[in-house]
Symmetry: C2
Subunit: 335 residues, 2 copies
């Protein structure tokens, strides 16, 4: 009987503020071969997402909190290593809600989505044609209702979602302004990704720099970070502007509730629509977006960047890079 | 030559915080008879609206600030006292963007809207079938997209807009919860206006009282006040809830910018749509709403209350009652 060694990260306690190694337990277990109807997947890459920080809290949200002692929730791509179920054979590439572990065992075959490794790099299924790309697509076009010639501001612009938002906005004929941390990332936005302007939020005078970068105001403000940058962007909104709220990474580690944006008071005179969304609500329409995203990415009209940290065991330190900004594009673990 | 004595309130300086008598100049001028194409209207009632506080500030908004030395902007109903223009005769009742004065002279006859004094009390054109009623109608049904069986929370619920919002929501088959100041107003909401529950924001334990009054959460939160009550209501929003932002009267006299609602962070996991609106954007559709509002009001399905302060000269003290809450329903001046 062939067993598979499964290395796993379990949630040991609820983090207060930034995640530490002590919030988790790393262990290994031997996985038996799949029972009737089961599939075993050897994970190759596991996505590190800001949303994971929220799932660690004991608070009601759009998905239940991760239970203490359970494998930490995560998504990844991998290959079937053993199958006792129709439709899946050893070697098949799939995306899976695997959790933070090297071997994923499931009998919910609907959770596995087969992918074609010839179509594009398999890691893209965690980025431009996966959740981040889909989030960008539906947030910008559906929630944001972007029209040609408008100005788009996107925060977290060098990240997995933000970089796609900006490039999609460019494809749609908008003026694109991105906010990122540090001159290197800002240069990356304008020189590599084709943004019209970039603002370094770590520099002085962010409000003035934003105003200078958006001389005609902002029509769609796609916000990934919340906090002071959300407040700053709202001041520049045009009448009837749309604000898709995608994330608030600046606040996910807060131990006390930070105040909301003072500039919210502009919502009434400027008739702003501020709307939170979750990409999973658009699941029925993924089939519309995936081929478009894949085509644009293959054609190079959407440039993608990945930061792959090797070694599942490096999860806590790698996860911290989401919040420090020490990464470019999609952050993931090589298992 | 018959002249008409015009008593006027001019904006003398920009108020800081609450309005004081010193922010205005009261004077009288003699108005000559109307020139060719002009109409003179003797104002009978002038509406006192929270929005007027914003118009006094030197800040860009959806309408320009009132100029220093100019008659303060206001709306009212009156009767033509002299006409040198087709279509208007002495005695005709009209609504007019008259400003805070007893005689309104205009050659922009499109600004005058004739009303039938037999149809309903003329003051209703400043309330239930005027801007407040129209604001309630479009905010609740268009921005709020209210559906039968949902729960509506409305702040400023005993005011000109809020009282109509709650009654319209009741007509639409919603559960209606109102927030008002003091036990008398709360009793008025439940006993006279038929609200399902009322919460006194001046009492202790507002957050708990709101939660108890909304056991199934809130689907549409029509906010007139902003500030702590906006924050409190947002905590209770259901998934896909809508938040029409109509006013923020708790903040209009603030001299420093108050923080925004901490609970805004729920917008993402709960997919909230928070949307500011201005009733004038719906001007093309007033004709749809006015007959409905008038019918419901005449039938008593919308109860109306008015607080009429006699004497144009009492404007500053009367205006302060908008913010202290010392009034019920629509506040106006008898000229």
């Amino acid at each position: 009987m062939t067993t598979h060694t499964n290395r796993r990260w379990l949630l040991a306690r609820r983090p207060k503020g930034p995640v530490t190694e002590e919030d988790f337990t790393f262990d290994t277990v031997e996985e038996d071969p799949p029972a009737e109807g089961e599939v075993l997947v050897a994970m190759r890459y596991i996505s590190l997402d800001p949303a994971m920080r929220g799932w660690m809290n004991d608070a009601p949200s759009y998905v239940p909190p991760v239970k203490l002692g359970a494998v930490m929730r995560a998504y990844g791509v991998g290959q079937v290593v053993a199958s006792n179920a129709p439709g899946f054979a050893e070697g098949d590439w799939v995306t899976a809600p695997s959790g933070l572990q090297s071997i994923y065992r499931t009998r919910r075959r609907g959770d596995l989505r087969k992918i074609d490794p010839e179509l594009c790099p398999t890691t893209w299924h965690l980025g431009v044609v996966g959740m981040p790309g889909l989030t960008a697509y539906f947030g910008l076009f559906d929630v944001g209702q972007l029209e040609e010639g408008e100005t788009v501001l996107v925060t977290g612009a060098a990240g997995a979602v933000g970089s796609v938002v900006g490039q999609l906005a460019g494809i749609a004929g908008a003026r694109v302004v991105g906010v990122a941390g540090g001159p290197d990332k800002c240069r990356f936005l304008t020189e590599t990704l084709g943004f019209d302007a970039a603002v370094d939020y770590k520099a002085d005078g962010v409000q003035e720099a934003l105003a200078a970068a958006c001389p005609d105001g902002i029509d769609v403000f796609f916000d990934n970070v919340g906090g002071p940058l959300l407040e700053a962007g709202l001041w520049l909104m045009n009448d009837h502007g749309r604000v898709p709220l995608c994330g608030a990474i600046s606040q996910y580690n807060a131990t006390a509730l930070p105040p909301g944006p003072r500039s919210l008071l502009l919502a009434i005179p400027r008739r702003l629509r501020i709307e939170g969304f979750i990409v999973m609500d658009y699941a029925e329409r993924y089939g519309e977006a995936v081929p478009r995203l894949a085509t644009w990415a293959r054609e190079g009209r959407i440039q993608t960047r990945e930061t792959i940290v090797p070694g599942l065991e490096n999860f806590p330190a790698a996860f911290a890079r989401l919040f420090s900004g020490d990464k470019l594009g999609k952050l993931m673990l090589g298992v």
